[in-house]
């Protein structure tokens, strides 16, 4: 199997690293070679952050080449747009509707593009996800990243649900309540993606 390449884009503090680790651990359970690379340090302070996850029979570079990414997860509506160069033909774009205006937008110096959905759609198959609302329904808005993983789980068939669930449990090992909320969030994301698919 050639590598599955996933980019997760977001804002520092949205659970980007946790999401990438959950994917990586789930892939490892299934015997894949895995590489993850992530942003630390300066960018944690509310700046743009991203991680790249790759798995397959053999993975060399931790960085995904531009044009090779099959799945883009954008935890904030704008952030994924910074990574579209990396997308491959037919990529899936899973984009949260959550908006976190950066300072330049708050003071009116910059603006979000008017037609964000239209722009994303040019690059592949777009799924807009009310991730924060679904996470809130699951028990905590902090689980929005896991809602997004639920959507990814529906769209990528290379990781089965047992591995996803086990990986989420291991990530939050010992925190029963957190596990429960996150498994709910995962399920809601999965169902959302599945319902959107049928609606097409």
């Amino acid at each position: 199997m050639s590598a599955t390449n996933i980019i997760i884009a977001g804002v520092g503090g949205q659970g980007n690293i946790a999401a990438s680790k959950i994917i990586g651990e789930a892939a490892l359970m299934l015997g894949y070679d895995v590489k993850i690379t992530e942003t630390h340090g300066m960018a944690q302070r509310g700046g743009s952050v991203h991680s790249m996850v790759r798995f397959g029979d053999k993975v060399f570079s931790p960085l995904i080449p531009k044009g090779a990414c099959q799945y883009l997860l954008s935890l904030e509506i704008l952030e994924g747009l910074r990574w579209v160069e990396y997308l491959k033909d037919g990529a899936f774009l899973i984009v949260s509707t959550e908006i976190r205006p950066p300072y330049s937008v708050s003071v009116g110096k910059d603006h979000y593009p008017q037609n964000i959905e239209e722009i994303y759609s040019k690059y592949g198959q777009l799924l807009m996800v009310p991730a924060k609302e679904l996470a809130s329904k699951a028990g905590s808005t902090r689980s929005a990243n896991i809602v997004m993983l639920g959507c990814l789980a529906y769209l990528t068939k290379s990781i089965n649900s047992e591995a996803w669930i086990e990986s989420i449990k291991r990530r939050f090992y010992g925190k029963e309540k957190v596990i429960e909320i996150n498994l709910n969030a995962f399920q809601l994301g999965y169902e959302f993606a599945s319902n959107s698919d049928r609606g097409r």
């Binding site: 630390h40 570079s61 531009k66 690059y123």
Partner: protein, 595 residues
């Protein structure tokens, strides 16, 4: 602790720590710095080890050398610029050598992810004649630290393991198939000719050092970490570190000489590889060090004329280099198997910002109001250079602000009595601000030093330091008293303020500016991520709000204007109250609800 046949997904820095433990290291020291910090943090969790944050890298290296002489295998960790600080003991320790294994793990930051420069630590190793490993992934991070600890004793020299951001902060699989090594008892023997580097002894050690270097060349030729993978004979790629994986990704069918032990280089191995291929390309992260050295052997190689010398390498840049090289020098066409899509341009930038409720914000808000010239330093607070705070004039290196303020004020003193300010974080002050303060006191400076004391090393993820009263092992310890220290170092005016009290902060800073001589203000407020004190959050009464935008000038990420309204995010707000203080229309009020 053992996981035979069992692969783990480890961050490069976790793998370095695991390698140190498995290689028998029982003492580790260092100073936090991205991308190296997690090495020592992870090491501290293994049974039977002692790990310490030192005040700075020089102290750390000296302690590491001492522990090695006493017979304990030791690692010392730092970021690339930290090696500037540790360079003095590092260079001469290679003359003295070691008793138990001593390994310096230094993490470079090509691409400036979180650093002020892009220096390549391999230059230092050459300056010092210190042997170097360059791991490409977590497995090698583990294995090379083990090997380096063993070889350090065998060759009687400190070893350097050079990481880069993409090695330290990428996760990949690690397989361990042996038990952790038990530390061996290596008693210290007094040996002044080896350990006392007075000129007559040092001269002899230099001769020994050069002999040892010849022996290391022999090791390099047969090191299991230097190996050839044959592919097409029309192009051979020599590569080290993570750059090897980029090249492998770009052109898996080329011939490769993968170098993991890169100083001294295996000249014979390189010559024999070069003789089998038509074109030779060196792919390495940062400076053209291997390339230059290989060229000095009289071997014709290509390198940085095809690859970027600024920033991080990427598989894309390497693919482009191979493609261009083949196109220019041969008729082979190389097809890059991926094609970038067109980017979306002119997106609003999202630079990192001070967190909601960060005490630094208030301090800089006041400094801006006072129109002070501010000599800056290294830490979260360097973000105050950005709008709207825009209140920093310099940032050079750890501790530089105080020295720069002193020099600046001396240079203008005949024509101006303007009091130049220096800002410095608590951990940075301990690291290398104290000598600058002594200089200011001794040479009778007219400056204002503000110690931004957030009770932790925040930037790198909340490490304790001598001002916090805690150690890396979680024990209580002596706590450095900044105010008293300032007094005994020659400060004429010393005050403490809580920057959450904006009114008092302004008053004290004005007073400190007016005072003659060296003024020191300790602005003390724990990092809000580390210790949040206020409950509830603030909200805006939209009827009272005139949309003047004064609160936005704080640059707080919890406050934003969207759809013509200013709002405070209850999720992000930490109830510091700065916005309510600056609002002239009483439109901002606190909601006491506990989230």
């Amino acid at each position: 602790m053992r996981f035979p046949g069992n692969k783990k997904l480890l961050l490069g820095n976790e793998a370095f720590a695991l390698g140190a433990f498995y290689g028998g290291a029982r003492y580790g020291t260092g100073y936090p710095g991205t991308p190296s910090t997690e090495i020592l943090e992870n090491f501290s969790k293994y049974p039977g080890v002692l790990a310490e944050w030192a005040p700075n890298e020089k102290c750390a290296f000296e302690a590491a050398h001492g522990a090695s002489l006493a017979g304990t295998r030791t690692i010392v960790t730092m970021k690339h610029v930290g090696l500037n600080v540790a360079a003095d003991p590092f260079v001469t320790s290679v003359y003295s050598g070691v008793n138990a294994g001593l390994v310096l793990i230094v993490a470079d930051d090509p691409g400036f992810h979180s650093s002020q420069n892009e220096q390549d630590s391999r230059h230092y190793a050459r300056l010092a004649y210190a042997p170097v490993f360059e791991p490409a992934d977590s497995q090698e991070a583990f294995s090379m630290v083990v090997e380096a600890l063993n070889l350090s004793e065998k060759y009687d020299t400190p070893f350097v393991v050079r990481s880069t951001t993409r090695v330290s902060h990428s996760s990949s699989l690690v397989e361990v198939d042996f038990e952790p090594m038990e530390p061996e008892n290596r008693p210290y023997t007094k040996n002044p000719e080896k350990y006392v580097m007075v000129p007559s002894y040092a001269r002899k050690r230099k001769e020994l050092l050069l002999k040892r270097f010849e022996a290391l060349k022999e090791y390099s030729e047969k090191s299991p970490f230097n190996s050839v993978e044959w592919g097409h004979s029309y192009i051979g790629i020599i590569s080290s570190g993570v750059a090897y994986h980029y090249a492998k990704e770009a052109f898996p069918d080329a011939s490769f000489l993968k170098l993991g032990f890169t100083y001294p280089l295996p000249e014979k191995l390189i010559r024999s590889f070069a003789s089998e291929v038509e074109l030779l390309l060196v792919v390495e992260e940062s400076d053209p060090i291997l390339e230059t050295e290989i060229r000095s052997f009289g071997i014709n190689v290509f390198g940085k004329e095809y690859l970027p010398e600024v920033g991080e390498l990427t598989p894309d840049a390497v693919a482009q280099a191979i493609s261009n090289l083949l196109k220019e020098k041969r008729t082979n066409t190389y097809h890059i198997s991926w094609m970038p899509k067109s980017p979306v341009n002119d997106l609003p930038a999202r630079a990192p910002v001070l967190c909601p409720g960060c005490g630094h914000r208030n301090l800089f808000f006041v400094l801006k109001k006072l129109r002070a010239k501010v000599m800056g330093d290294i830490g979260c607070y360097t973000l105050a250079v950005n709008p709207p705070l825009s209140s920093m004039d310099t940032c050079t290196c750890m501790g530089a602000g105080i020295g720069e303020a002193h020099g600046f004020s001396k240079a203008i003193q005949k024509t101006s009595d303007e009091k130049i300010a220096a800002v410095i974080g608590d951990s940075t002050f301990v690291h290398s601000g104290i000598t600058g303060l002594i200089n200011a006191g001794y040479n009778r400076s007219n400056i204002l030093i503000i110690i931004l004391d957030n009770r932790t090393t925040a930037m790198t993820g909340h490490q304790p330091h001598p001002g916090t009263g805690k150690t890396l092992m979680g024990e209580n310890t002596f706590e450095l008293d900044f105010e008293n220290l300032a007094k005994v170092c020659g400060a004429d005016y010393v005050r403490t303020v809580d920057p959450y009290d904006l009114k008092e902060t302004e008053k004290v800073l004005k007073e400190a500016q007016a005072a003659k001589g060296v003024s020191v203000v300790v602005a003390r407020r724990p990092c809000v991520l580390y210790q949040r004190t206020e409950e509830g959050y603030y909200s805006i009464d939209l009827d009272a709000c005139t949309d003047c935008g004064a609160c936005l000038l704080l640059g707080c990420p919890a406050i934003s204007r969207f759809d013509e309204k200013i709002i405070i995010s209850s999720d992000l707000c930490t109830a510091c109250g700065a916005c309510a203080f600056v609002c002239r229309f009483d439109a901002i009020f606190k909601i006491e609800e506990v989230k």
